[in-house]
Subunit: 127 residues, 4 copies
DNA sequence: GTGGTCTAGACCACA
DNA sequence: GTGGTCTAGACCACA
Protein backbone atom coordinates (compact mmCIF):
# COMPACT_ATOMS: atom_id res chain seq x y z
CA UNK A 1 0.00 0.00 0.00
CA UNK A 2 2.99 2.31 0.27
CA UNK A 3 5.58 0.27 -1.58
CA UNK A 4 8.56 1.30 0.55
CA UNK A 5 11.40 -0.93 1.66
CA UNK A 6 13.11 -0.16 4.95
CA UNK A 7 16.72 -1.15 5.01
CA UNK A 8 20.16 -0.03 5.94
CA UNK A 9 21.33 2.03 8.85
CA UNK A 10 19.45 5.30 8.30
CA UNK A 11 16.76 6.13 10.84
CA UNK A 12 13.41 4.66 9.88
CA UNK A 13 11.57 7.98 9.94
CA UNK A 14 14.11 9.32 7.48
CA UNK A 15 13.73 6.36 5.17
CA UNK A 16 9.97 6.83 5.32
CA UNK A 17 10.34 10.52 4.55
CA UNK A 18 12.53 9.85 1.54
CA UNK A 19 10.40 6.98 0.34
CA UNK A 20 7.24 9.07 0.35
CA UNK A 21 9.04 12.05 -1.16
CA UNK A 22 10.12 9.80 -4.02
CA UNK A 23 6.59 8.51 -4.53
CA UNK A 24 5.42 12.12 -4.76
CA UNK A 25 8.28 13.16 -6.99
CA UNK A 26 7.56 10.35 -9.41
CA UNK A 27 3.84 11.08 -9.17
CA UNK A 28 2.96 7.61 -8.08
CA UNK A 29 1.27 9.68 -5.38
CA UNK A 30 -0.72 12.42 -7.11
CA UNK A 31 -1.53 15.93 -5.86
CA UNK A 32 -4.38 15.94 -3.34
CA UNK A 33 -4.28 12.16 -3.11
CA UNK A 34 -4.90 10.88 0.39
CA UNK A 35 -2.04 9.21 2.21
CA UNK A 36 -2.74 6.07 4.25
CA UNK A 37 -3.39 6.75 7.93
CA UNK A 38 -0.47 6.81 10.33
CA UNK A 39 -1.63 3.73 12.19
CA UNK A 40 -2.16 1.83 8.99
CA UNK A 41 1.34 2.51 7.74
CA UNK A 42 2.74 1.57 11.13
CA UNK A 43 0.93 -1.76 11.13
CA UNK A 44 1.83 -2.51 7.54
CA UNK A 45 5.55 -1.87 8.04
CA UNK A 46 5.69 -3.29 11.53
CA UNK A 47 7.04 -0.11 13.08
CA UNK A 48 6.01 2.30 15.79
CA UNK A 49 3.20 4.80 14.99
CA UNK A 50 5.32 7.53 16.56
CA UNK A 51 7.92 6.92 13.89
CA UNK A 52 5.40 7.31 11.10
CA UNK A 53 3.98 10.40 12.79
CA UNK A 54 7.44 11.94 12.81
CA UNK A 55 7.92 11.31 9.09
CA UNK A 56 4.50 12.80 8.25
CA UNK A 57 5.19 15.85 10.40
CA UNK A 58 8.42 16.53 8.55
CA UNK A 59 6.80 15.99 5.18
CA UNK A 60 4.18 18.55 6.12
CA UNK A 61 6.76 20.98 7.36
CA UNK A 62 8.58 20.60 4.04
CA UNK A 63 5.37 21.48 2.23
CA UNK A 64 5.12 18.10 0.51
CA UNK A 65 1.87 17.12 2.19
CA UNK A 66 -0.83 18.91 4.15
CA UNK A 67 -3.07 17.48 6.80
CA UNK A 68 -6.65 18.18 7.70
CA UNK A 69 -7.20 17.44 11.37
CA UNK A 70 -9.51 14.49 11.85
CA UNK A 71 -9.57 13.81 8.13
CA UNK A 72 -6.09 12.72 7.09
CA UNK A 73 -2.99 13.76 5.18
CA UNK A 74 -2.85 14.66 1.50
CA UNK A 75 -0.21 15.23 -1.13
CA UNK A 76 0.35 18.97 -1.65
CA UNK A 77 -0.81 20.55 -4.91
CA UNK A 78 1.44 20.24 -7.92
CA UNK A 79 3.58 23.39 -7.86
CA UNK A 80 4.82 22.84 -4.35
CA UNK A 81 5.83 19.28 -4.72
CA UNK A 82 6.89 17.18 -7.65
CA UNK A 83 8.78 19.70 -9.76
CA UNK A 84 11.00 20.93 -6.95
CA UNK A 85 11.73 17.41 -5.72
CA UNK A 86 12.66 16.24 -9.15
CA UNK A 87 14.98 19.18 -9.66
CA UNK A 88 16.69 18.31 -6.38
CA UNK A 89 16.99 14.68 -7.37
CA UNK A 90 18.57 15.64 -10.67
CA UNK A 91 21.03 17.88 -8.85
CA UNK A 92 22.07 15.08 -6.50
CA UNK A 93 22.46 12.68 -9.39
CA UNK A 94 24.56 15.15 -11.33
CA UNK A 95 26.89 15.55 -8.36
CA UNK A 96 27.20 11.77 -8.05
CA UNK A 97 28.04 11.43 -11.71
CA UNK A 98 30.74 14.08 -11.45
CA UNK A 99 32.20 12.24 -8.46
CA UNK A 100 32.13 8.99 -10.37
CA UNK A 101 33.92 10.57 -13.29
CA UNK A 102 36.55 12.07 -10.99
CA UNK A 103 37.07 8.63 -9.46
CA UNK A 104 37.99 7.33 -12.85
CA UNK A 105 34.94 5.23 -13.55
CA UNK A 106 34.77 4.76 -17.31
CA UNK A 107 31.63 5.86 -19.11
CA UNK A 108 31.00 2.37 -20.31
CA UNK A 109 30.62 1.14 -16.73
CA UNK A 110 28.16 3.93 -16.03
CA UNK A 111 26.10 3.09 -19.07
CA UNK A 112 25.97 -0.52 -17.97
CA UNK A 113 24.79 0.47 -14.50
CA UNK A 114 22.08 2.67 -15.99
CA UNK A 115 20.99 -0.12 -18.28
CA UNK A 116 20.93 -2.59 -15.41
CA UNK A 117 18.89 -0.34 -13.15
CA UNK A 118 16.38 1.02 -15.62
CA UNK A 119 15.80 -2.27 -17.31
CA UNK A 120 14.81 -3.88 -14.01
CA UNK A 121 11.31 -2.94 -14.99
CA UNK A 122 8.87 -2.30 -12.23
CA UNK A 123 8.75 -4.13 -8.89
CA UNK A 124 11.27 -2.28 -6.77
CA UNK A 125 9.54 -3.76 -3.80
CA UNK A 126 8.92 -6.87 -1.69
CA UNK A 127 12.17 -8.78 -1.23
CA UNK B 1 50.25 17.16 9.51
CA UNK B 2 47.01 15.63 8.30
CA UNK B 3 45.06 18.68 7.16
CA UNK B 4 41.61 17.46 8.14
CA UNK B 5 38.87 19.53 9.69
CA UNK B 6 36.31 17.85 11.89
CA UNK B 7 32.90 19.42 11.68
CA UNK B 8 29.24 18.65 11.43
CA UNK B 9 27.23 15.85 12.90
CA UNK B 10 28.78 12.82 11.21
CA UNK B 11 30.70 10.47 13.52
CA UNK B 12 34.29 11.56 14.01
CA UNK B 13 35.76 8.26 12.86
CA UNK B 14 33.77 8.56 9.65
CA UNK B 15 34.96 12.08 8.98
CA UNK B 16 38.51 10.90 9.57
CA UNK B 17 37.98 7.96 7.23
CA UNK B 18 36.66 10.18 4.47
CA UNK B 19 39.29 12.84 5.00
CA UNK B 20 42.14 10.37 4.72
CA UNK B 21 40.50 8.58 1.80
CA UNK B 22 40.41 11.90 -0.03
CA UNK B 23 44.05 12.60 0.73
CA UNK B 24 44.92 9.21 -0.72
CA UNK B 25 42.62 9.58 -3.67
CA UNK B 26 44.12 12.95 -4.57
CA UNK B 27 47.60 11.57 -3.94
CA UNK B 28 48.49 14.14 -1.37
CA UNK B 29 49.29 10.94 0.50
CA UNK B 30 51.38 8.77 -1.81
CA UNK B 31 51.54 4.95 -2.00
CA UNK B 32 53.65 3.43 0.80
CA UNK B 33 53.86 6.79 2.53
CA UNK B 34 53.71 6.47 6.29
CA UNK B 35 50.65 7.82 8.03
CA UNK B 36 51.09 9.62 11.34
CA UNK B 37 50.75 7.32 14.36
CA UNK B 38 47.34 6.76 15.86
CA UNK B 39 48.29 8.52 19.07
CA UNK B 40 49.79 11.44 17.20
CA UNK B 41 46.66 12.08 15.18
CA UNK B 42 44.60 11.80 18.35
CA UNK B 43 46.69 14.40 20.11
CA UNK B 44 46.73 16.70 17.12
CA UNK B 45 42.96 16.62 16.65
CA UNK B 46 42.16 16.52 20.35
CA UNK B 47 40.26 13.26 20.14
CA UNK B 48 40.59 9.82 21.67
CA UNK B 49 43.13 7.35 20.22
CA UNK B 50 40.40 4.72 20.03
CA UNK B 51 38.46 6.86 17.62
CA UNK B 52 41.47 7.23 15.35
CA UNK B 53 42.12 3.51 15.68
CA UNK B 54 38.62 2.80 14.45
CA UNK B 55 39.11 4.96 11.37
CA UNK B 56 42.47 3.33 10.61
CA UNK B 57 41.01 -0.15 11.06
CA UNK B 58 38.27 0.59 8.56
CA UNK B 59 40.69 2.14 6.09
CA UNK B 60 42.80 -0.98 6.29
CA UNK B 61 39.86 -3.23 5.83
CA UNK B 62 38.81 -1.22 2.79
CA UNK B 63 42.27 -1.78 1.35
CA UNK B 64 43.27 1.88 1.39
CA UNK B 65 46.07 1.47 3.91
CA UNK B 66 48.00 -1.39 5.44
CA UNK B 67 49.44 -1.46 8.89
CA UNK B 68 52.30 -3.31 10.44
CA UNK B 69 51.85 -3.52 14.21
CA UNK B 70 54.78 -1.98 15.99
CA UNK B 71 55.93 -0.29 12.81
CA UNK B 72 53.16 1.96 11.59
CA UNK B 73 50.45 2.43 8.99
CA UNK B 74 51.10 3.03 5.33
CA UNK B 75 49.17 4.04 2.24
CA UNK B 76 48.38 0.95 0.15
CA UNK B 77 50.13 0.50 -3.20
CA UNK B 78 48.53 2.44 -6.02
CA UNK B 79 46.61 -0.45 -7.56
CA UNK B 80 45.02 -1.59 -4.32
CA UNK B 81 44.02 1.89 -3.25
CA UNK B 82 42.67 2.85 -6.63
CA UNK B 83 40.63 -0.34 -6.86
CA UNK B 84 39.18 0.20 -3.40
CA UNK B 85 38.28 3.80 -4.13
CA UNK B 86 36.65 2.91 -7.40
CA UNK B 87 34.66 0.13 -5.77
CA UNK B 88 33.33 2.63 -3.25
CA UNK B 89 32.58 5.19 -5.93
CA UNK B 90 30.65 2.63 -7.97
CA UNK B 91 28.61 1.69 -4.90
CA UNK B 92 27.72 5.31 -4.23
CA UNK B 93 26.83 5.90 -7.86
CA UNK B 94 24.62 2.85 -7.96
CA UNK B 95 22.70 4.09 -4.92
CA UNK B 96 22.28 7.51 -6.54
CA UNK B 97 20.97 6.00 -9.72
CA UNK B 98 18.43 3.92 -7.79
CA UNK B 99 17.28 7.04 -5.98
CA UNK B 100 17.00 8.92 -9.24
CA UNK B 101 14.92 6.14 -10.74
CA UNK B 102 12.62 6.04 -7.72
CA UNK B 103 12.22 9.81 -7.94
CA UNK B 104 10.81 9.36 -11.40
CA UNK B 105 13.68 10.73 -13.42
CA UNK B 106 13.32 9.26 -16.90
CA UNK B 107 16.18 7.26 -18.29
CA UNK B 108 16.54 9.66 -21.18
CA UNK B 109 17.39 12.48 -18.79
CA UNK B 110 20.01 10.32 -17.13
CA UNK B 111 21.61 9.42 -20.42
CA UNK B 112 21.76 13.09 -21.33
CA UNK B 113 23.45 13.90 -18.04
CA UNK B 114 25.99 11.16 -18.57
CA UNK B 115 26.64 12.37 -22.09
CA UNK B 116 27.03 15.95 -20.90
CA UNK B 117 29.44 15.07 -18.13
CA UNK B 118 31.62 12.54 -19.89
CA UNK B 119 31.91 14.54 -23.07
CA UNK B 120 33.29 17.51 -21.13
CA UNK B 121 36.71 16.92 -22.50
CA UNK B 122 39.19 15.27 -20.24
CA UNK B 123 40.61 16.02 -16.82
CA UNK B 124 37.77 17.31 -14.68
CA UNK B 125 39.75 15.61 -11.92
CA UNK B 126 41.70 16.19 -8.69
CA UNK B 127 39.80 18.86 -6.79
CA UNK C 1 21.51 -18.30 25.58
CA UNK C 2 24.39 -18.15 23.13
CA UNK C 3 26.27 -21.33 23.91
CA UNK C 4 29.75 -19.98 23.24
CA UNK C 5 32.86 -20.72 25.27
CA UNK C 6 35.64 -18.20 25.37
CA UNK C 7 39.03 -19.76 25.61
CA UNK C 8 42.54 -19.61 24.27
CA UNK C 9 44.61 -16.64 23.23
CA UNK C 10 42.60 -15.32 20.27
CA UNK C 11 40.98 -11.90 20.80
CA UNK C 12 37.61 -12.19 22.51
CA UNK C 13 35.75 -10.32 19.78
CA UNK C 14 37.16 -12.76 17.23
CA UNK C 15 36.09 -15.80 19.22
CA UNK C 16 32.65 -14.27 19.51
CA UNK C 17 32.56 -13.58 15.78
CA UNK C 18 33.51 -17.14 14.93
CA UNK C 19 31.20 -18.64 17.51
CA UNK C 20 28.18 -16.76 16.20
CA UNK C 21 29.17 -17.39 12.59
CA UNK C 22 29.15 -21.10 13.36
CA UNK C 23 25.75 -20.92 15.02
CA UNK C 24 24.41 -19.21 11.90
CA UNK C 25 26.18 -21.55 9.54
CA UNK C 26 24.77 -24.60 11.31
CA UNK C 27 21.35 -22.93 11.50
CA UNK C 28 21.12 -23.17 15.23
CA UNK C 29 20.45 -19.47 14.70
CA UNK C 30 17.86 -19.16 11.96
CA UNK C 31 17.41 -16.40 9.36
CA UNK C 32 15.72 -13.29 10.82
CA UNK C 33 16.04 -14.70 14.32
CA UNK C 34 16.84 -12.04 16.89
CA UNK C 35 20.22 -12.14 18.53
CA UNK C 36 20.51 -11.34 22.21
CA UNK C 37 21.21 -7.67 22.91
CA UNK C 38 24.80 -6.47 23.08
CA UNK C 39 24.54 -5.71 26.77
CA UNK C 40 22.94 -9.03 27.53
CA UNK C 41 25.70 -11.01 25.87
CA UNK C 42 28.26 -8.88 27.67
CA UNK C 43 26.69 -9.58 31.04
CA UNK C 44 26.27 -13.27 30.33
CA UNK C 45 29.88 -13.76 29.28
CA UNK C 46 31.31 -11.34 31.80
CA UNK C 47 32.94 -9.12 29.20
CA UNK C 48 32.65 -5.50 28.16
CA UNK C 49 29.76 -4.40 25.93
CA UNK C 50 32.23 -2.68 23.62
CA UNK C 51 33.85 -6.00 22.88
CA UNK C 52 30.52 -7.55 21.95
CA UNK C 53 29.68 -4.47 19.90
CA UNK C 54 32.87 -4.97 17.92
CA UNK C 55 31.98 -8.56 17.11
CA UNK C 56 28.44 -7.60 16.10
CA UNK C 57 29.73 -4.76 13.91
CA UNK C 58 32.02 -7.10 12.06
CA UNK C 59 29.32 -9.72 11.66
CA UNK C 60 27.06 -7.08 10.18
CA UNK C 61 29.72 -5.87 7.85
CA UNK C 62 30.35 -9.42 6.69
CA UNK C 63 26.67 -9.69 5.87
CA UNK C 64 25.93 -12.39 8.43
CA UNK C 65 23.60 -10.27 10.55
CA UNK C 66 21.78 -6.97 10.15
CA UNK C 67 20.98 -4.60 12.94
CA UNK C 68 18.31 -2.00 13.40
CA UNK C 69 19.42 0.54 15.97
CA UNK C 70 16.98 0.70 18.82
CA UNK C 71 15.38 -2.56 17.75
CA UNK C 72 18.00 -5.25 17.81
CA UNK C 73 20.26 -7.43 15.69
CA UNK C 74 19.01 -10.21 13.48
CA UNK C 75 20.44 -13.10 11.49
CA UNK C 76 20.63 -12.15 7.83
CA UNK C 77 18.31 -13.86 5.34
CA UNK C 78 19.51 -17.26 4.21
CA UNK C 79 20.93 -16.19 0.86
CA UNK C 80 22.99 -13.33 2.28
CA UNK C 81 24.38 -15.36 5.13
CA UNK C 82 25.18 -18.37 3.00
CA UNK C 83 26.95 -16.22 0.42
CA UNK C 84 29.02 -14.48 3.08
CA UNK C 85 30.02 -17.74 4.72
CA UNK C 86 30.99 -19.31 1.44
CA UNK C 87 33.05 -16.27 0.50
CA UNK C 88 34.96 -16.62 3.75
CA UNK C 89 35.38 -20.36 3.29
CA UNK C 90 36.78 -19.84 -0.20
CA UNK C 91 39.27 -17.30 1.11
CA UNK C 92 40.48 -19.68 3.80
CA UNK C 93 40.74 -22.52 1.34
CA UNK C 94 42.73 -20.42 -1.09
CA UNK C 95 45.20 -19.53 1.65
CA UNK C 96 45.56 -23.19 2.61
CA UNK C 97 46.20 -24.21 -0.96
CA UNK C 98 48.90 -21.56 -1.32
CA UNK C 99 50.53 -22.83 1.85
CA UNK C 100 50.36 -26.39 0.61
CA UNK C 101 51.97 -25.41 -2.66
CA UNK C 102 54.73 -23.54 -0.87
CA UNK C 103 55.34 -26.56 1.33
CA UNK C 104 56.09 -28.57 -1.76
CA UNK C 105 53.00 -30.72 -1.88
CA UNK C 106 52.68 -31.87 -5.49
CA UNK C 107 49.50 -31.07 -7.34
CA UNK C 108 48.79 -34.73 -7.86
CA UNK C 109 48.53 -35.26 -4.10
CA UNK C 110 46.12 -32.36 -3.83
CA UNK C 111 43.93 -33.70 -6.59
CA UNK C 112 43.83 -37.06 -4.86
CA UNK C 113 42.78 -35.45 -1.59
CA UNK C 114 40.03 -33.53 -3.35
CA UNK C 115 38.86 -36.68 -5.05
CA UNK C 116 38.91 -38.60 -1.79
CA UNK C 117 36.97 -35.96 0.12
CA UNK C 118 34.36 -35.04 -2.47
CA UNK C 119 33.64 -38.60 -3.48
CA UNK C 120 32.82 -39.51 0.14
CA UNK C 121 29.20 -39.68 -0.68
CA UNK C 122 27.06 -36.83 0.39
CA UNK C 123 26.36 -35.13 3.69
CA UNK C 124 29.61 -34.90 5.59
CA UNK C 125 28.10 -31.65 6.83
CA UNK C 126 26.67 -29.87 9.89
CA UNK C 127 28.93 -30.80 12.76
CA UNK D 1 68.07 -14.77 -1.30
CA UNK D 2 65.35 -16.15 0.93
CA UNK D 3 62.34 -15.66 -1.33
CA UNK D 4 59.84 -14.84 1.43
CA UNK D 5 57.09 -12.27 1.26
CA UNK D 6 56.05 -10.57 4.49
CA UNK D 7 52.44 -9.55 4.50
CA UNK D 8 49.29 -9.57 6.55
CA UNK D 9 48.81 -9.12 10.24
CA UNK D 10 50.75 -12.08 11.62
CA UNK D 11 53.92 -11.25 13.59
CA UNK D 12 56.92 -10.99 11.34
CA UNK D 13 58.99 -13.56 13.24
CA UNK D 14 56.13 -16.02 12.74
CA UNK D 15 55.92 -15.33 9.03
CA UNK D 16 59.65 -15.82 8.80
CA UNK D 17 59.40 -19.08 10.70
CA UNK D 18 56.67 -20.40 8.42
CA UNK D 19 58.37 -19.15 5.29
CA UNK D 20 61.62 -20.93 6.11
CA UNK D 21 59.78 -24.04 7.24
CA UNK D 22 58.09 -24.15 3.86
CA UNK D 23 61.37 -23.74 2.03
CA UNK D 24 62.72 -26.70 4.01
CA UNK D 25 59.58 -28.76 3.54
CA UNK D 26 59.66 -28.22 -0.21
CA UNK D 27 63.41 -28.89 -0.20
CA UNK D 28 64.26 -25.61 -1.83
CA UNK D 29 66.52 -25.50 1.23
CA UNK D 30 68.33 -28.84 1.40
CA UNK D 31 69.58 -30.74 4.46
CA UNK D 32 72.81 -29.28 5.85
CA UNK D 33 72.51 -26.28 3.56
CA UNK D 34 73.66 -23.05 5.21
CA UNK D 35 71.05 -20.42 5.96
CA UNK D 36 71.92 -16.79 5.30
CA UNK D 37 73.22 -14.92 8.35
CA UNK D 38 70.77 -13.19 10.66
CA UNK D 39 72.05 -9.74 9.80
CA UNK D 40 71.89 -10.44 6.12
CA UNK D 41 68.27 -11.53 6.26
CA UNK D 42 67.41 -8.52 8.39
CA UNK D 43 68.96 -6.13 5.90
CA UNK D 44 67.42 -7.84 2.92
CA UNK D 45 63.89 -7.77 4.35
CA UNK D 46 64.25 -4.40 6.04
CA UNK D 47 63.42 -5.72 9.47
CA UNK D 48 65.06 -5.83 12.88
CA UNK D 49 67.86 -8.40 13.43
CA UNK D 50 66.23 -9.31 16.74
CA UNK D 51 63.17 -10.43 14.82
CA UNK D 52 65.20 -12.71 12.57
CA UNK D 53 67.08 -14.03 15.59
CA UNK D 54 63.80 -14.96 17.22
CA UNK D 55 62.63 -16.88 14.15
CA UNK D 56 65.95 -18.76 13.91
CA UNK D 57 65.82 -19.64 17.60
CA UNK D 58 62.39 -21.14 17.24
CA UNK D 59 63.35 -23.05 14.11
CA UNK D 60 66.25 -24.53 16.03
CA UNK D 61 64.07 -25.40 18.96
CA UNK D 62 61.67 -27.15 16.58
CA UNK D 63 64.59 -29.19 15.27
CA UNK D 64 64.32 -27.80 11.76
CA UNK D 65 67.74 -26.17 11.79
CA UNK D 66 70.84 -26.42 13.92
CA UNK D 67 73.41 -23.74 14.55
CA UNK D 68 77.12 -23.91 15.05
CA UNK D 69 78.29 -20.99 17.16
CA UNK D 70 80.45 -18.59 15.19
CA UNK D 71 79.80 -20.52 12.00
CA UNK D 72 76.13 -20.17 11.14
CA UNK D 73 72.82 -21.99 10.95
CA UNK D 74 72.12 -25.08 8.85
CA UNK D 75 69.10 -27.05 7.74
CA UNK D 76 68.68 -30.17 9.86
CA UNK D 77 69.34 -33.58 8.32
CA UNK D 78 66.56 -35.16 6.31
CA UNK D 79 64.73 -37.35 8.81
CA UNK D 80 64.11 -34.56 11.25
CA UNK D 81 62.81 -32.07 8.83
CA UNK D 82 61.13 -32.33 5.46
CA UNK D 83 59.02 -35.44 5.87
CA UNK D 84 57.39 -34.43 9.12
CA UNK D 85 56.69 -30.92 7.85
CA UNK D 86 55.10 -32.19 4.71
CA UNK D 87 52.89 -34.57 6.64
CA UNK D 88 51.73 -31.67 8.79
CA UNK D 89 51.04 -29.55 5.74
CA UNK D 90 48.97 -32.31 4.19
CA UNK D 91 47.00 -32.64 7.40
CA UNK D 92 46.24 -28.94 7.50
CA UNK D 93 45.18 -28.97 3.86
CA UNK D 94 42.93 -31.94 4.40
CA UNK D 95 41.18 -30.16 7.25
CA UNK D 96 40.70 -27.08 5.06
CA UNK D 97 39.22 -29.14 2.27
CA UNK D 98 36.76 -30.78 4.65
CA UNK D 99 35.74 -27.35 5.91
CA UNK D 100 35.28 -26.14 2.37
CA UNK D 101 33.10 -29.10 1.55
CA UNK D 102 31.02 -28.56 4.68
CA UNK D 103 30.56 -24.92 3.64
CA UNK D 104 28.99 -26.11 0.44
CA UNK D 105 31.75 -25.16 -1.96
CA UNK D 106 31.25 -27.25 -5.08
CA UNK D 107 34.06 -29.46 -6.21
CA UNK D 108 34.28 -27.62 -9.48
CA UNK D 109 35.20 -24.41 -7.69
CA UNK D 110 37.91 -26.23 -5.78
CA UNK D 111 39.36 -27.71 -8.92
CA UNK D 112 39.46 -24.26 -10.48
CA UNK D 113 41.29 -22.86 -7.47
CA UNK D 114 43.82 -25.67 -7.59
CA UNK D 115 44.32 -25.13 -11.29
CA UNK D 116 44.75 -21.39 -10.77
CA UNK D 117 47.27 -21.77 -7.99
CA UNK D 118 49.39 -24.59 -9.37
CA UNK D 119 49.47 -23.25 -12.89
CA UNK D 120 50.98 -19.98 -11.65
CA UNK D 121 54.28 -21.61 -12.38
CA UNK D 122 57.23 -20.51 -10.39
CA UNK D 123 57.80 -16.98 -9.11
CA UNK D 124 55.88 -16.84 -5.87
CA UNK D 125 58.06 -13.97 -4.93
CA UNK D 126 58.90 -10.28 -5.41
CA UNK D 127 55.69 -8.23 -5.53
C1' DG E 1 15.55 -0.86 25.90
C1' DT E 2 18.61 -0.85 21.75
C1' DG E 3 22.61 -0.22 18.86
C1' DG E 4 26.20 3.26 18.12
C1' DT E 5 29.77 6.57 19.43
C1' DC E 6 33.17 8.38 22.33
C1' DT E 7 36.35 9.26 26.23
C1' DA E 8 39.94 7.95 29.56
C1' DG E 9 43.04 4.95 30.55
C1' DA E 10 45.35 0.43 30.88
C1' DC E 11 48.04 -3.46 29.09
C1' DC E 12 50.10 -6.47 25.40
C1' DA E 13 53.29 -8.25 21.93
C1' DC E 14 56.31 -6.77 18.72
C1' DA E 15 60.08 -3.89 16.82
C1' DG F 1 57.31 3.73 19.98
C1' DT F 2 53.60 1.23 17.43
C1' DG F 3 49.21 -0.89 16.40
C1' DG F 4 45.77 -3.76 18.76
C1' DT F 5 42.68 -5.17 22.49
C1' DC F 6 39.99 -4.44 26.39
C1' DT F 7 37.59 -2.37 30.43
C1' DA F 8 34.58 1.02 32.70
C1' DG F 9 31.50 4.16 32.04
C1' DA F 10 28.99 7.94 29.75
C1' DC F 11 25.80 9.90 26.36
C1' DC F 12 22.92 9.92 22.05
C1' DA F 13 19.03 9.23 18.89
C1' DC F 14 15.60 6.24 18.01
C1' DA F 15 11.75 3.07 19.12
Amino acid sequence: MLDIRLEGKAPIYEQLYNGIAQLISSERLKPDEKLPAVREVAKQLGINPNTVQKAYAQLEQAGLIYSMPAKGSYVAPRTHAAAALRAEAVKRLEASLYDAKKSGIPRGDVDELVEKIWSTDRNEGNS
